[in-house]
């Protein structure tokens, strides 16, 4: 008998990598496999842990139920030190922030709130393969790819956005969300200012469309290009900004803390936030972890130096690999951000 309902059938999931049974070790297993397929940042763990582990210990207040949008102190820190940093202005208040157990949980819940069953999510391809799961699990939503081409260096144009939009409609599905990963996974690209303007202009022209920008690698830009967050420019489009723009950030990549399971959403749409509070109850972050993270991210001096050092170490590591690939004559797309690039 088949016990599993439509919402949870394993067939719909990306069949991810198998557990590595032959791991590399420099001494005991030099012929083993090295896993280069998982986007984790191990370069800064010493710096992060030193700060995280010096946070004040758990208190009795941590033991009890708290707000399912997250603790006030963490939301304040995220608004002030993360989202306002992305915006490069005073854009975010603590009331605009929702905290949940990882970026995947946030994306999954935001799309559940924004999309009616059968709606489509427009997603630039190639895309991070687990997006498929984050978008579809329990949500009954479709993915409509926005075809990006290597010959354009994976840039986005209005024509491509229109094509995806029309394609969804032709299939009888309403395009509800444009989901961006900016900086981009897997190309390692930073969207140029003119592309950001194109995207904002285009979203603004579609009154029923929401823009969700997953800016998980915002502080991992090591290349020459300057990173422009959606949040930096969206205020030029008031309607888009007030109800239809939502930014996701998490600790998994920029802070190399994927195990801690903590992601955040910025939005000004109060109905969305109310719904996120309501279903946030299904994916809350433990209070002691929220307190420790509020402490970790709460010091701007620490953050500045962390971000700068992270970029430095990423660039150094990237340069080693890029040089080696060039010497071997293996073509690749030059990366500027994140923990990976396309070979």
């Amino acid at each position: 008998p088949n016990y599993i309902s439509w919402a949870a059938h394993p067939k719909m999931y990306f069949r991810g990598y198998e557990t590595n049974i032959n791991p590399y070790d420099p001494i005991t297993n030099p012929k083993g496999c090295i896993k280069l397929s998982l986007a984790e940042n191990t370069l800064m763990r010493d710096v992060l842990l030193e700060r995280y582990n010096s946070a004040p210990p758990a208190t009795r207040a941590d033991l009890v139920y708290s707000d399912y949008l997250g603790t006030r102190s963490l939301r304040e820190v995220l608004a002030k030190n993360i989202f306002n940093r992305l915006a490069k202005r005073e854009e975010a208040k603590w009331e605009n922030i929702a905290v949940s157990a990882g970026a995947g949980a946030i994306v999954n819940h935001v799309l559940w709130v924004l999309g009616n069953p059968g709606d489509s999510v427009l997603l630039p391809s190639p895309y991070y393969n687990s997006f498929s799961f984050d978008i579809k699990a329990r949500n009954d939503l479709n993915i409509e790819s926005i075809e990006r081409r290597p010959e354009d260096l994976f840039a986005i144009s209005k024509a491509q956005l229109d094509a995806a939009y029309e394609s969804a409609i032709k299939k009888g599905s309403k395009p509800r969300v444009l989901l961006l990963c900016s900086p981009d996974n897997p190309t390692g690209r930073v969207y140029k200012k003119r592309e950001i303007a194109t995207i904002l202009e285009w979203c603004n022209s579609k009154p029923d469309l929401h823009l969700v920008s997953d800016e998980l690698y915002a502080f991992s830009v090591f290349g020459e290009s300057e990173f422009t967050s959606i949040l930096e420019k969206v205020h030029e489009y008031p309607n888009l900004a007030s109800k239809r723009t939502h930014i996701v950030w998490a600790l998994s990549k920029d802070m190399g803390a994927s195990g801690l399971r903590c992601g955040a959403l910025f939005s000004k749409n109060t109905n969305l936030l109310r719904a996120m509070q309501n279903i946030g109850y299904f994916a809350a972050v433990p209070n002691p972890v929220q307190s420790a993270l509020a402490y970790t991210l709460g010091d701007t001096t620490f953050l500045e130096s962390y971000i700068a050092e992270n970029k430095r170490r990423l660039l150094k590591r990237y340069t080693v690999l890029a040089t080696m690939l060039s010497e071997q004559g293996i073509p690749f797309v030059e990366g500027e951000a994140g923990l990976f690039f396309l070979g």
């Binding site: 999931y13 992060l48 139920y65 559940w112 009616n116 190399g256 433990p286």
Partner: protein
């Protein structure tokens, strides 16, 4: 007021604002308009699915020094009596978080944590009779997250979930919000009017069949039987024959059986005999099989609702596979799992902790009896958990739902005490309230004092005999519909 809304609104520290009785947010009366709300219909409806009793009522919490005029809430099932034991232990256990755990862990939960939980559950929930193994456990962000995902796995939108009444009403939200199933309450008291005492709250074959038929009549497919025992709110352990009946019924009709045993290690009454479904399986010499799933969490027995740790145990490989994947969306922070695995592997500490915790709960329960019984309240003997069931019918002006609602309001306005009214737990007779007594000591004492004063002032109607329930004929007035 639902316990969940109350929890969100409670101030734990000094009072920050004065409760404004005029500020009733009419959440449920807005009509959905995509142009205005700019979210989906299901996103709009979700907050309105959460069971409400009196919408938007706000208050500030009593504090002996900072807010002596505040309200005493006995409406949230939280245990605040164990901070002196837990805080120092957690502070030590969470200290020195190691580097390798800062990365992605197995989605179903850190192995050492699952192993520790498996051992713990085996020892305390079924007294070692049935061995739980870590490979069949999925640990995620709370019992509710486990239920949400489990129902996405085993049921479809339009299915019915049978649940004995009275029940913790937020179950309705847990199974409906994303999984789209509907709770169909199983009458207990109403189908056995000749039974007196706490036994009348046990599910019966008659009640289960009736609920199943009712679901079918409503066009719902009865897919799952959900039981919560030790029971919320009656605080009783179902005896072996009831568990046998429940399992037989589920098997006969090809239904999944979900046993929420969240209070399973919080048995504080000496005479109590807890029959976990796993214990019953062992007794019968059988395994749980593909249709039985057990839920547990650390929110109650371990007074750690803020840590968001729940778990599901199942032997169904398909369910496990899906639950593991879905858990990716509600994993527990690795730091928390690591710290807790250290706590649980200190088996001596666990033994001592549970013994002290249950002893304190039992003592506190006895105080409730001592305080309230002289005022005409019948206190049903609690066996487990953080609350007890109060028969306050002698305080009703008349034997109707309206009168219960009025009493709830009077308790809030005059006595400044919150008790969870029976109606909000879908009970079958008006006049019953749940009292969550595991608050801080000063709060408890103040609350009991206020209730005693309130009771002394109450003009009591004469003793109600244990009469049969004619609630179907509307004897108690119109049953309030959920707003």
């Amino acid at each position: 007021m639902s316990t969940l809304m109350a929890a969100c609104l409670l101030n734990r520290g000094p009072a920050r604002r004065i409760a404004n009785r005029g500020m009733v947010r009419r959440l449920s009366q807005e009509v959905y308009d995509p142009k205005i709300h700019a979210i989906s219909e299901r996103g709009f409806k979700a907050p309105r699915l959460l069971p409400q009793y009196l919408s938007g009522v706000t208050f500030t919490a009593y504090h002996p020094k900072n807010n002596p005029d505040g309200h005493v809430s006995f409406a949230v099932a939280e245990n605040k009596m164990l901070e002196d034991l837990l805080v120092p232990k957690y502070q030590t256990a969470f200290n020195g978080f190691p580097a390798e755990l800062i990365y992605y862990q197995e989605t179903e939960g850190y192995p050492a944590f699952r192993a520790a939980i498996a051992e713990f559950l085996t020892k305390y929930v079924n007294k070692g009779s049935y061995t739980f193994t870590p490979d069949k456990i999925v640990a995620g962000a709370g019992c509710n997250a486990m239920l949400d995902n489990l129902f996405c796995c085993i049921s479809e939108p339009g299915d019915a979930v049978l649940l004995p009444r009275p029940y913790y009403a937020v179950f309705e939200f847990d199974v409906q919000c994303k999984a789209g199933s509907t709770i169909v309450g199983v009458e207990t008291v109403g189908v056995q009017p000749e039974v007196k005492g706490v036994e009348r709250y046990y599910p019966t074959l008659k009640g289960l069949e009736k609920a199943r038929d009712s679901a079918l009549q409503q066009g719902l497919n009865p897919k799952v039987l959900l039981i919560c025992q030790p029971n919320n709110p009656i605080s009783v352990c179902y005896p072996k024959h009831v568990m046998e009946l429940v399992w037989e019924f589920a098997e006969k009709h090809g239904m999944h059986l979900v046993s929420d045993e969240i209070y399973g290690a919080g048995i504080h009454a000496k005479q109590a005999d807890f029959w976990s479904i796993s214990r019953l399986a062992a007794d019968k010499g059988r395994t749980l099989g593909d249709y039985v799933h057990v839920i547990y969490a650390l929110s109650k027995d371990f007074a750690s609702s803020g840590l968001r740790c729940g778990m599901m145990y199942s032997e169904n490989q398909q369910v496990l596979k899906s639950m593991r994947k879905l858990n990716d969306l509600c994993q527990i922070s690795s730091h928390t799992q690591w710290g807790l695995s250290r706590v649980f592997s200190d088996t001596e500490w666990i033994e001592d902790f549970l013994s002290k915790a249950n002893s304190r709960l039992n003592d506190r329960f006895k105080l409730v009896k001592k305080s309230l019984e002289p005022e005409g309240v019948k206190v049903i003997e609690a066996e487990a958990g953080l609350f007890c069931w109060l028969d306050c019918r002698s305080w009703l002006e008349e034997n109707t739902w309206e009168a219960e609602k009025k009493l709830y309001q009077q308790l809030f306005d005059e006595a400044k005490v919150l008790l969870t009214p029976g109606y909000s737990m879908r009970t079958e007779q008006p006049g019953y309230f749940r009292c969550c007594f595991a608050t801080h000591e000063e709060v408890f004492n103040e609350g009991m004092k206020r209730l005693k004063d309130f009771g002394a002032d109450k003009l009591r109607i004469e003793e109600l005999e244990e009469e049969s329930d004619d609630w179907q004929t509307g004897k108690y007035g119109k049953f309030p519909t959920t707003t």
